[in-house]
């Protein structure tokens, strides 16, 4: 493990951003076997055909409903049970294969969200924490799509605060069942679902014998009675997906339907949320690839001033941007999926969060640029771009807003780094001359233009020589990021939790570093095995790495500065003044005093 580990600690080779994954995990880029590839290609064909021929996205968006025959088609393709093991009637796909199908499914936002709410979160609880009996009872029907699942966590109040959960499950006197009462809001599939994963407060006895309210997870069937739902919400995008309130009134839930332990719902919820995100990378990439095809068609045929649109530099730039983003998203998504498919239960939640943040923001920008290529036409409802724009907006919000995930990425990393560095920082603070001197010498050497060599490139390196420049940039960024993180820990210690502006920068650099790693790793593999158009990949990787390198340097320069210099002070002050008056407080430019 190493990554940003600071100066002198490079006895281990470079791994990856937060030292959460090892170098050998990201280099070389994960591969699947030929059999698996064949298997997934067998799935891809029919699904692609189904989506291009039978899914009428425009109609789904207009009617705000997915027609039953489309749902039936999805069910017959087995898409409701992609990750459910074959023994329970699912397709038993690995994460990588799931990501591959996600690329196609994402061509319609409503369908993608309906499927994701069903299997990425709705039934995930049963899949990862359920007992064998629960799996045997529920998974077959869920896999076939006979039953649809929904995930009921959010309540009025706030989505990420466990304290806002007011639903309550009280144990009956015989101890055989719970009575569930409460309301949940914004439940995807809430109106369609037959099986709900519901989180509610239960009374649990603590280790020290005191009674305490804790959250438990339950499998609730609509058939248990007392389950009602409100009318579907009218939304900006993903209009075909069903989102509504779900109410539980004295719903009797047998004790066997508790997922995990009573009082262990918090962990279950966290695990479900963390595991559901990685697929957003491939989904976004799939969408952008489709958009590139559509807009390129337009740009190469439309003429202006006797020139094709595609001859204009500013239009070309947009296509490059889309290609780079799609390439990096894909690289990150399949790297993460590949790591998750490794034997054992590797925790890739931070990587998944990074994929989610990067790809959702990239998708939003790319869709917007694609629309821009068409100009006024893109704005019309006759073309699908405005729908893609509306649909992709949700990516920044659901499954944990990007702001929240940035905090997660940065804080998880900080916690990890802190554990390693606490001893050293304490030595410095105590005034240990030796350690302080070492730091001083290192900083002096850095200022003299130190060559960073983490062994990524060069003779024994894992990066292909064509990508040497990018590799070096990554190395340099990682090295200085390590120093920056150490500086932050020294400056803020555990109070870094409250420094959201700083944490956001830490998260941004981490995401960029992971993205660079993924792109370099993938491009190296492509060159080495001679994939078609691998020179194009090299170009994309070099463009991305150079841009990210400069962005990282800028952000890290900000991180090293104090609040007065990196504008944090002023930013906070403006916000404070605006929020105090709850309005824009400047006088109107036409205002006079005399």
């Amino acid at each position: 493990y190493i990554s940003f580990l600071p100066q002198g600690a490079y006895s281990l080779k470079l791994a990856q951003v937060w030292a959460i994954t090892k170098e050998e995990e990201v280099f070389p880029y994960p591969e699947i076997s030929n059999e698996e590839l064949e298997e997934i290609n067998q799935f891809v064909g029919p699904v692609e055909k189904f989506f291009s021929e039978e899914v009428d996205s425009k109609r789904i968006d207009q009617d705000a409903k997915i027609p039953p025959e489309t749902l039936k088609g999805l069910k017959s393709l087995g898409l409701f049970g992609m990750q459910i093991p074959e023994e329970y009637g699912g397709l038993g796909l690995s994460n990588t294969m799931y990501a591959r199908l996600g690329e196609i499914i994402s061509l319609d936002g409503s369908v993608a969200v309906t499927l994701a709410a069903h299997q990425a979160i709705g039934l995930k609880g049963i899949l990862i924490a359920g007992t064998d009996e629960q799996k045997a009872k529920y998974l077959p029907k869920l896999a076939s799509g006979e039953h649809i699942a929904a995930f009921c966590l959010t309540e009025p109040g706030s989505g990420s605060d466990a304290a806002s959960i007011q639903s309550r499950a009280t144990m009956s006197e015989d101890g055989k069942s719970f009575l569930l009462n409460g309301s949940k809001v914004w439940i995807s599939n809430g109106g369609l679902a037959d099986i709900f994963t519901v989180f509610a407060r239960t009374e649990a006895v603590d280790n020290d014998g005191t009674k305490k309210d804790k959250i438990s997870a339950f499998i609730v069937e609509r058939a248990f009675g007392g389950v009602t739902n409100g009318k579907p919400e009218d939304k900006l995008g993903i209009r075909g997906s069903n989102t509504c309130e779900v109410h539980f009134e004295n719903t009797k839930v047998p004790v066997e339907n508790v997922i995990g332990e009573v009082g262990g719902g918090f962990k279950v919820a966290m695990n479900i949320l963390n595991s559901g995100r990685f697929s957003m990378g491939s989904a976004s990439a799939g969408m952008i690839k489709k958009l590139i095809e559509m807009t390129a068609e337009y740009a190469c045929t439309r003429k202006q001033f006797n020139k094709k649109l595609s001859d204009f530099g500013l239009i070309q730039e947009k296509f490059t941007l889309m290609a780079v983003k799609a390439y990096v998203m894909e690289s990150m998504a399949y790297l993460t999926a590949g790591m998750m498919d490794r034997p054992g239960v590797p925790d890739c939640s931070v990587e998944a969060a990074m994929v989610k943040v990067f790809s959702s923001e990239g998708a939003w920008i790319c869709v917007s640029e694609a629309l821009q290529v068409l100009g006024g036409l893109g704005y019309m409802k006759d073309y699908p771009y405005e729908r893609y724009l509306r649909d992709s907006r949700i990516l920044l919000i659901f499954e944990g807003t990007n702001e929240i995930l940035r905090m997660y990425i940065a804080l998880t990393g900080m916690q990890y780094a802190g554990k390693i560095l606490t001893g050293k920082i304490k030595e410095i603070k105590k005034g240990n001359v030796g350690v302080a001197l070492e730091i001083f010498v290192n900083q002096f050497r850095d200022s003299m233009g130190r060559k960073v060599d983490l062994g990524l490139v060069g003779k024994d390196g894992v990066v292909h020589p064509s990508l040497e420049e990018s590799g070096k940039k990554l190395e340099e960024n990682i090295y200085y990021f390590g120093a920056a993180v150490e500086g932050l820990l020294r400056r803020f210690g555990k109070t870094i939790v409250d420094e959201q502006l700083v944490l956001k920068r830490v998260a941004d650099v981490s995401i960029n570093l992971y993205a660079m790693t993924a792109a370099i790793s993938r491009a190296s593999r492509s060159i080495s095995i001679g994939l078609r158009n691998h020179d194009h990949e090299v170009l994309l990787t070099n463009i991305f790495c150079t841009e990210a390198y400069f962005k990282n340097n800028y952000v890290m320069a900000e991180i090293e500065k104090y609040a007065a210099e990196n504008l944090d002070d002023s930013i906070k002050k403006v916000a404070q003044q605006v929020l105090e008056k709850r309005a824009y407080i400047c006088s109107h430019p036409l205002e006079r005093t005399f």
Partner: protein, 432 residues
């Protein structure tokens, strides 16, 4: 003719007073308008040898006025003709129209505007009486009294020295009074001053200084008070409470409107108004208050809104004991990211931006109110009203710590004791 006689009389008087004044200057000061005027007075009288007839005369009249002040009561007719002008003008009401009439009267009386400096000073003095001290056009009207173009310097020597100092001083006086009442001059003022005194004269410079500072200070108060305060005590209480609370989510409740009624028994019942304010944060604080500990009603505390003083009462708790203050962060609170890090490192001194402040601990304030009467029965009604939204109050003992406020002094002597305490658990329902 009367006027001339008076002037002669004044000259006689002042001739005698010259010595007197030097002998006991302090005695003369009270009737002088401000110290700047007093300082100016002596040099002018000395200079009067070389000054014009108009100047010496104009010096005489204030001194005559001094005599008048001294002898007020003994003499019937006023020595100062200009005060009289105003007295005559206001036969009806003391209004803006009457004031303008007086000014017009003066302007019509003499084409040369003889005695305009004295008239202007008198007019400035009379302005508050007529309630026109904040009227810009009245100031412009007064400036219009000055003869135009006479005092504009024509050559460099005049420009170098203080040309027509008394007139310039008088012009400055007008501007000073405007300044004191916060009246911003306008284009008309500037036009008049330029016409009367010319560019770079002292009044014009004064005008420029006013125009430099006034706009800059116009919005310097971040918490402005409306120009006219509402008459209705309930509305007044509303804006006062919002001003203290400084929380936009705070909700104002009128618990009781003021009312005077005659009951069946023929007794007159007066019901004072009660207006309270409470923010959601305060409600939450109160909801988490331990009912075993009493809460206190305290007051009255004064709040000044310009020249009006209002009084308010607070409902507060005692500072929390340290063992209850510690907030434990629930590790199972946030589904997405850790709310605290398990690290043994603290914040460094360079990023610690908090000043050392010697903090005095105060208890939480749960609500505030303003009432038409400060007696305990009235405030009890407030507490009763608060119970509607804060059910915990009905289980919490409420202790009244009331100081005798000015309102109580006016009202009655029913609560002489400075501090009333009701130690037993107090339920408003029993009380009423």
């Amino acid at each position: 003719m009367n006027c001339v006689r008076k002037l002669l009389l004044a000259r006689e008087l002042s001739a005698g007073r010259g010595i007197l004044r030097q002998a006991a200057p302090g005695r003369d000061l009270p009737w002088l308008q401000g110290s700047s005027c007093a300082q100016r007075f002596w040099p002018v009288s000395v200079r009067s040898i070389r000054s014009s007839a108009a100047l010496s005369r104009s010096e005489l009249i204030p001194s005559a006025r001094g005599d008048k002040e001294k002898d007020r009561g003994s003499r019937d007719g006023s020595l100062v003709p200009f005060d009289e002008l105003f007295e005559r003008a206001h036969e009806g009401d003391r209004t803006k129209a009457a004031f303008s009439r007086a000014v017009e009267l003066f302007c019509q009386r003499d084409i040369r505007r003889r005695g305009h400096v004295e008239f202007i000073k008198a007019a400035l003095r009379k302005m508050p009486e007529f309630g026109v001290e904040r009227e810009l056009d009245v100031y412009n009207k007064i400036l219009d009294v000055f003869p135009k173009e006479v005092f504009v310097p024509r050559n460099f020597i005049q420009r170098m020295f203080n040309h027509y100092p008394r007139q310039q001083e008088c012009g400055i006086h007008v501007l000073e009074q405007m300044e004191n009442y916060g009246i911003m001059p306008d284009k008309q003022t500037k036009f008049l001053l330029l016409q009367i005194f010319g560019k770079k004269s002292h009044p014009v410079r004064k005008y420029q200084r006013l125009m430099y500072w006034f706009p800059r200070f116009k919005h310097v108060n971040p918490y402005p008070i409306p120009a006219a305060l509402p008459r209705d005590p309930v509305d007044l209480a509303r804006i006062s409470l919002q001003r203290i609370a400084a929380d936009l989510s705070a909700k104002i409740t009128v618990y009781q409107m003021s009312l005077t009624d005659v009951s069946d028994a023929g007794k007159e019942i007066t019901q004072p108004h009660i207006v309270g304010i409470q923010s959601p944060d305060q409600q939450e604080l109160l909801a988490h208050h331990n009912p075993a500990r009493p809460v206190f009603v305290e007051g009255p505390f004064p709040l000044w809104l310009k020249k009006t003083c209002v009084y308010y009462y607070v409902l507060r708790g005692e500072p929390l004991p340290p063992e209850e203050k510690e907030e434990t962060i629930d590790s199972e609170r946030n589904f997405f990211y850790p709310l605290h890090l398990d690290l043994d490192l603290d914040r460094g001194p360079w990023d610690d931006e908090e000043f050392y402040v010697d903090e005095v601990e105060e208890g939480p304030i749960f609500a505030m109110c303003m009432a038409g009467a400060g007696d305990q029965a009235t405030l009890a009604k407030w507490i009763l009203g608060l119970q509607q939204t804060n059910p915990i109050l009905s289980q919490t003992p409420v202790v009244f710590h009331l100081k005798p406020g000015p309102q109580e002094l006016q009202a009655a002597s029913d609560s002489e004791s400075g501090e009333e305490e009701i130690p037993q658990s107090w339920h408003a329902k029993q009380e009423l």
